[in-house]
């Protein structure tokens, strides 16, 4: 049987710190799920 492999944890890249006061734009997409996600 085909077995779904666990997705390896994405290595935490060194995040460049945002400048103070930076507000990221609202996450515009993807939108809401109306039924369920498969």
């Amino acid at each position: 049987p085909v077995v779904k492999r666990a997705v390896a944890q994405v290595a935490q890249r060194d995040k460049v710190p945002h400048p103070v006061g930076f507000v990221s734009p609202p996450l515009l997409c993807p939108g809401k799920v109306r039924y369920f996600k498969i």
């Binding site: 085909v2 515009l28 997409c29 993807p30 939108g31 809401k32 799920v33 109306r34």
Partner: protein
Amino acid sequence: VPATPPALLGCDDPEAEAAAEAAVSYINGHSRHGYKFALNRIENIRVLAQDPNNEILFLELDLLETTCHILSPTPLENCTVRSFIEHAVEGDCDVKLQRRDGQFSVLASKCHSHADSSEDITQLCPNCPLLARLNDTEVLATVTAALSDHNSRTPGAYLRLLEIGRAKIQYFPAHIVVVEFAVAATNCSAEAAQGNAEACQLLPDDQSNFGLCTASRVLSPSKDLKVDCQLYGHQVPTPDTPFLSQGVS
């Protein structure tokens, strides 16, 4: 001159939802097989402004299969989305639309559908029946037996198979095959067809009458066959079924 930067539009904005509704209506209206699909999620949207009243929109849509066959006149809003444990089928669609003076028109669409993974279903419901291939021998045998049983026991038009829409097989605690198949009325009565079914032809488009049959066949430990066919009655092409005017193969 750099192209106009894509306008930012949220995936849950009313304009995005209106565009997605136009796209889903187009997809269902131009599909010839299988089932109607409903919008589950707007994955992404990009807008390219051409001029003040003319935009090109690129939509990535996540759809889910409903229980309405594509030939059914039932409006999409009345079609039930198949539940997760019925072994849902997802459709991924990329659609290009134009919005001119507030009116949407689909310029191109590309979709592919796939069933949910069996592991997901069995994890939640170990004994639930799973989707089977439509050309599985047990599926084909069940459809043949069910249609023959219906035609031999039901007065009225002799029905011909159009396509097998869906099939599931359960192995435990009983071995059961469940099928759904689309049918069309022919110009023969069931009685007349007893003699020479080959002579029975599908009714012409202006009298066509399609329907959907569901059947379940128990193979073990006992033997049983249940069939239920519902004909839709003659339909004139509607926005939900424009392809009816082009005939159905």
